[in-house]
């Protein structure tokens, strides 16, 4: 599971990207090639996170270069997605994030966000199988 808050000073966003950076290879992104930049609005501050994807290889940086897709949103919303509280696609429909450019890349990227907290489908499954 990715991006779980470690508590303390690190925001869910920071731990999400930190975790992604250490992985280097992510099978869920095997079909993705290109870069997505997240412009996170945090009060007066604007934070850039850029993820480069190449058939499953990923690199994370803060650079503000020309990306294939750019997504602008509040950092609080990203914190929510990174911790499983906010569903990225529903948030897009609500207008909380505005993606531009190669939207297919954004769609593939959102696979990385964790399951909602308290989703017990798997546990349920095990329980049913154990019957």
């Amino acid at each position: 599971m990715t991006g779980r808050s470690t508590g303390g000073v690190q925001s869910p966003t920071d731990s999400f990207f930190a975790d992604l950076a250490t992985r280097r290879h992510e099978p869920l992104l095997k079909s993705a090639s290109g870069s997505v930049q997240f412009d996170l609005v945090d009060g007066e501050r604007l934070e850039h996170w850029c993820v480069t994807m190449d058939k499953g290889d990923v690199a994370v940086s803060h650079k503000n270069a020309k990306a294939d897709a750019i997504v602008r949103l509040d950092k609080a919303t990203f914190d929510g997605m990174a911790s499983g509280r906010v569903n990225a696609i529903a948030a897009t429909l609500r207008g909380e994030l505005v993606p531009e450019g190669d939207l297919g890349l954004v769609l593939l990227f959102q696979r990385l966000f964790p399951a909602p907290e308290g989703a017990d489908g798997a546990a349920d499954l095990v329980a049913r199988r154990a019957r």
Partner: protein, 680 residues
């Protein structure tokens, strides 16, 4: 829905109005301008001198364009035949309405024209349930246009209305004061724009707008080239030619483009209320259309692959590897009052995704796509065992986790009473319906071929084939109803057979899971009097506890179901029986002007001289539209064999001579010919 409503559409933007072109939304007549599952106009009423007009006639020019001829007065009494009005409307990012007022008198006349406009911005889900809006509606006049607006936090939707001729604009509509010379005319273009919608894109004019008027709108050119790309059909039997052309035009109308793949279309499920991406419907329709428009399959596979489930989410019934059921874009989906962002409550789409990928490659030879979707196809195959098998008994079954807004029945027969025992009792959940097992078996066999030939993973291929063979043996033992000689429709939660006789047996033939030794008995049932009505194969056999010839999945005949059964009959070598099924359905199509409905009554053909249509709101329905296409394939016996196409015609005698020319595929383009010899 009233029969005289007029629908035009472009993708998922559509207008439903009355025969005057007016929109006055009510619960019984869900009219309006809709886009991305939101209503952008709920009121659009044309008046002259404060009076409504009467329709003389409506021309449905194309599926995206209509023209209304109107006259003053109501009913049969015309107050004034010296004035007439033409409204011509083309849809796309809203619509363009070209309004013409004609004076037929030899005197000049002053005319007050009024267009009343408003919008409730209802979500499609709200239209039928009449739910209260949670946000704020506010209309305003700004920059020479009327803006209808709706806001709920960051969720903003706007409709912009403007005219090319001078108008007095207020928050309720547009007024035009004009003087018409003797035999004079007046024209204006009115632009109604879905300015802010779910896509985040902004539009400031309709797609087919007045500022870039062309001799032919691009959509008409597009339809022409779509028809020109498809194989040509020559046939002695006129009704088939008509049904074929109807199918191609309707399929063009049903094309839907997602934002991630602009310029590429996939088949949506139905027009107009189901103009969105569906797993099951888009896959079945793509399969039917493969020999005719293979690019639909490619787009469907990519779009579903991109949105494949990646986590366990109970609200959306999502699991890793699962293929979605339905995507929606409206307010209730956005605020998670409905789970369609997307919703994954379908237990067949995941296996069918692999089936389509393999069948697509067999026809087109497009191995690049098979490589591109390797991860998704493997994840889908993994889902079957890892998540689809809810009970750990080796069979795929379903039980929703979203108990509030999720779907109870996650197979194609998705109504509450579709799965029953012979005595009519309903099983509990989970339910392992038989066709799910067939699809899973087929997915493994086809996945094995892809693994061996494209992904170069022989070990994985061997494993899948071994599993599939063992699975087939168990299935033929566990689902077989001994005293009936057919397969049970499902296993219930206790592993007991749900023993009614259903059309699902035909899908099992299509999937190849039926033991050769059992096929004969299954086929005898499919074309026997309990299932076969003379028009087609019933969903549930006559004589079963719940049988009802006009029950949605308990006795009606579904053309799409029959087309896959015909394919299954061919797979097992029952050519004459396949021809018989095709002949019945195509005979029925004649009674619907070549446009097969979603379902029709299961009454015996000897009882009703025509097939009785089941009333549904959606027409055309994509997989009914695809039915004549798949029946053409099964009648001609078209089958890719290596880089060639095999043709093995078995046509009903009534059809006479049949030629299908320029069938596209890995062989380039080839022709197939046949002559009707089978008495049906």
């Amino acid at each position: 829905m009233s029969a005289d409503l007029v629908q035009i559409l472009d993708g998922n933007t559509f207008v439903v109005s009355d025969a005057r072109g007016d929109i006055e939304a009510s619960l019984t007549d869900p009219t309006g301008l809709f886009s991305f599952d939101t209503r952008f106009l709920s009121k659009w009423v044309l008046k002259i001198a404060d009076e409504r007009l009467s329709p003389l006639s409506v021309d449905n020019l194309q599926y995206f364009e209509a023209r209304f001829f109107l006259i003053r007065g109501t009913g049969t009494v015309y107050v004034d035949a010296k004035l007439s009005v033409i409204r011509q409307r083309a849809v796309g990012d809203g619509f363009l309405e070209q309004l013409t007022v004609l004076n037929h008198d030899d005197k000049a006349v002053d005319v007050a024209v009024r267009l009343d406009a408003d919008s409730d911005f209802a979500d499609l889900f709200e239209v039928k349930d009449a739910l209260e809006k949670k946000g704020i509606r506010k209309n305003r006049v700004e920059d020479g246009r009327l803006v209808l607006g709706y806001e709920r936090g960051p969720f903003v939707r706007e409709t912009w209305i403007s005219a090319t001729e001078p108008a007095a604009i207020d928050e309720r509509g547009l007024s035009f004061a004009l003087t018409l010379e003797p035999h004079g005319e007046w024209k204006t273009d009115v632009n109604v724009v879905t300015a802010l919608s779910a896509t985040g894109e902004r539009h400031d004019r309709p797609k087919y707008g007045s500022s870039n008027r062309e001799p032919r709108p691009s959509m008409a050119r597009d339809l022409d080239s779509w028809l020109a790309e498809a194989p040509r059909l020559n046939c002695d039997w006129e009704p088939l030619t008509e049904a074929y052309r109807r199918s191609l035009v309707d399929l063009a109308a049903l094309r839907f483009t997602t934002r991630t793949m602009p310029g590429h279309a996939l088949p949506a499920a139905g027009l107009p209320w189901f103009m969105t991406l569906f797993g099951r419907d888009s896959i079945f329709t793509s399969l039917q259309a493969l020999p005719f428009a293979p690019e639909l399959a490619a787009t469907t596979l990519r779009a579903l692959g991109e949105r494949q489930g990646s986590r366990v989410d109970d609200f959306r019934d999502e699991d890793p590897g699962k293929i979605l059921h339905e995507m929606r874009y409206g307010e209730m989906t956005a605020f998670e009052e409905r789970p369609h962002s997307p919703y994954y409550g379908s237990s067949d789409a995941t296996a069918l995704f692999v089936v389509l990928l393999d069948e697509y490659e067999r026809w087109t030879g497009d191995r690049a796509l098979v490589r591109e979707l390797e991860f998704e196809a493997r994840a889908a195959l993994n889902w079957i065992d890892e998540y689809g098998d809810l009970q750990g008994n080796g069979y795929v079954s379903y039980k929703r986790r979203n108990e509030e807004t999720g779907l109870e029945n996650q197979c194609w027969k998705d109504s509450w009473d579709s799965i029953s025992y012979r005595n009519g009792a309903l099983p509990g959940f989970p339910r392992a319906t038989c066709e799910l097992q067939g699809y899973s078996y087929d997915a493994k066999m086809r996945g094995a071929r892809l693994a061996r030939e494209v992904w170069r993973d022989g070990a994985f291929a061997d494993r899948l084939e071994k599993e599939a063979a063992a699975f087939k043996r168990r299935f033929n033992r566990d689902f077989w109803v001994d005293d009936g000689g057919y397969f049970a429709v499902a296993l219930d939660a206790d592993g007991q057979k749900v023993d009614s006789l259903t059309s699902n047996n035909g899908h099992l033939l299509w999937s190849g899971i039926v033991d050769k030794s059992k096929a004969k008995s299954v086929v005898r049932h499919l074309v026997g009097p309990a299932l076969y009505s003379g028009w087609g194969i019933r969903t549930l056999a006559e004589g079963e506890g719940r049988y009802n010839p006009i029950g949605y999945h308990v006795g009606t005949i579904w053309p799409f179901d029959n087309s896959f059964i015909a394919w299954g009959l061919r797979r097992y070598g029952y050519k004459a029986e396949a021809a018989k099924v095709a002949a019945g359905i195509l005979d029925a199509a004649q009674f619907f002007d070549g446009r097969l409905p979603e379902a029709f009554g299961g009454y015996p053909r000897t009882l009703t001289k025509h097939p009785v249509q089941y009333p549904t709101a959606c027409s055309p329905q994509a997989w009914s539209t695809g039915t004549p296409l798949l029946l053409l394939r099964t009648m001609l016996g078209l089958e890719p064999v290596g880089d060639q196409i095999a043709v093995d015609p078995a046509l009903p005698r009534s059809i006479g001579r049949l030629e299908l020319l320029d069938i596209p595929g890995r062989w380039g383009r080839v022709d197939a010919l046949g002559r009707g010899r089978i008495k049906t």
